[in-house]
Amino acid sequence: MNELNYNKDLETDILAAMRKPGKAYWFALGFTSSLFLMGLILWAYQIKTGMGAAGKNNPVGWAAYITSFVFWVGIAHSGTLISAVLFLFRAKFRSSFNRSAEAMTIFAIMTAGLFPLIHLGRVWFFYWLMPYPNQRMLWVNFKSPLIWDVFAVTTYFIVSLIFFYVGMIPDFAIVRRNVSGMRKWVYGAFSLGWTGTAVQWRHYAALYMFLAAFATPLVVSVHSVVSWDFAMSIVPGWHTTIFAPYFVAGAIFSGTAMVITLVVPMRKIIRLEKYITPGHFESIAKILLFTSLIVTYSYVVELFSAWYSGNEIELEVFRYRMTGDYCVIYWFMIFCNVLIPLTLFVPALRRNIKYLFAISLLVNAGMWCERFIIIVTSLARDHDPYTWGIYKPTIVDAGIVIGSFGLFFTLFLLFVKLLPVLSMTEKKEAVE
């Protein structure tokens, strides 16, 4: 009987979350969309004025935009990790986080995808990145990691979107049953006429398994490819073989932190405490701790490799990171990504949701700084001291980066009100 009550309450609570936007919600939506609008205005200003409006220039040609691209692609990773990998390992706590994480993946890739376009300058020529027959008889250079990136990120977006949508089909049918008027038609159309017959469920289970199996190596490949944007070059501090696993671990680390950042307030505001428990948070905190240790190990190996190589240029880059113009950012990164997560060895702190939320904010900040340090310091101290220089952001690139957070959180807020935030069918299955 308890199981039946749980199932009924679950539907009622999730559907209630989709109905009543309160003042706090409208305020939050207004705030985040204003940030996004500010970013759009600044982007328009940059297009009109030229790339000089952004602070990047020789020798630091990749700066806040590419930092943000790598950061947001990284954020996107945990969505698939939580959904696909934990599904393959049959980890039941995934059902508390998977829908939010998958939504986060989609929105983070959309946000990430904007940055190469913003960075291009003449954004209207973005299609030059695609292979298509043209008058000049030229094709894209498939030996370039930047083109691998186009294929990897596009594939990741499409597969993640399918995975996200497929997971929601049975839930759309539940929403369809509980709403009326135009909304019934809309959710009915998205449900594809799902009725939950044995045949549908049999093929659905097979599909979900295949999508999870495809998505898992895809997660690893995408951030590996992003890391090769750097590692395939000969820039000191970039040209290293550990970059692929280092970036993948960092991506999962930052993505897990962002899931916590999003789910803690969502759980409170739409009253999902019954379904997302401290035990679930403890499980996800363990992933955060584990990936933090991998990231720490990568930092150590990176330094060791530079020292062991005996290469003066390589050593100079790492000396510069720790003691140069950006050293405050470097040590803040170490504080956020290495030291603070170690406190999660204490079980009571792993179950303390406010503490986890605070840590997740620090890790998000720390991981943005990590990408910034990797990109900017290496370019600022390249091989030839004659070309050394520093990067200082202007209000335009800083504003566009802040605007990207506005876009991401706006999309997430819309998701919270328009789509079921928990997988109802999976929760019912898990409670058995």
């Binding site: 089909i169 594809l192 799902w194």
Partner: protein, 143 residues
């Protein structure tokens, strides 16, 4: 025997299915709907494994070939040596082939699912036969 049986409890639903099968009702004469996936129902009804696996396999193989096909064709269409690498540089092209393997495999799996599950089912988009998220057993043929 005919009719529709509606259950809120999963175990009662499974017991009914088992009872029908024990009475010799053919699985193709039983139609069930479930609010969530219950594997035991498939076992009781002796459902065959899903044929979906052939779709992602076909898609993945096609994607792999298309990935190498696209990269090799474009390299040979206007041969330019870049980065000191051969015009046809297989290690670099493997990455494109890998991504397209995943992409085509996933798309084929999704299309295969729609085909096998009979979706989209336009008649049921606004279903008049809602069962309120309960387990239902419908016997199709009277005997």
């Amino acid at each position: 025997m005919s009719g529709i049986f509606i259950y809120e409890d999963k175990n009662e639903f499974l017991s009914k299915l088992q009872e029908l099968m024990n009475k010799g009702v053919r699985p193709e004469d039983i139609s069930v709907t479930m609010p969530y996936h219950v594997e035991e129902a498939g076992r009781i009804l002796k459902s065959r494994p899903s044929l979906l696996k052939y779709f992602p396999l076909t898609g993945a193989v096609l994607g792999f070939l298309a990935g190498f096909g696209l990269t090799i064709f474009t390299a040979l269409d206007w041969p330019i040596m870049t980065g000191g690498k051969p015009v046809v540089s297989m290690p670099a092209y493997l990455i494109i082939a890998f991504e397209m393997t995943i992409l085509f495999g996933a798309l084929a799996a999704f299309l295969g699912f729609l085909l096998l599950a009979g979706l989209p089912d336009v008649r049921m988009i606004i279903s008049l036969e809602e069962n309120g998220g309960k387990f239902t057993v419908l016997l199709k043929n009277e005997k």
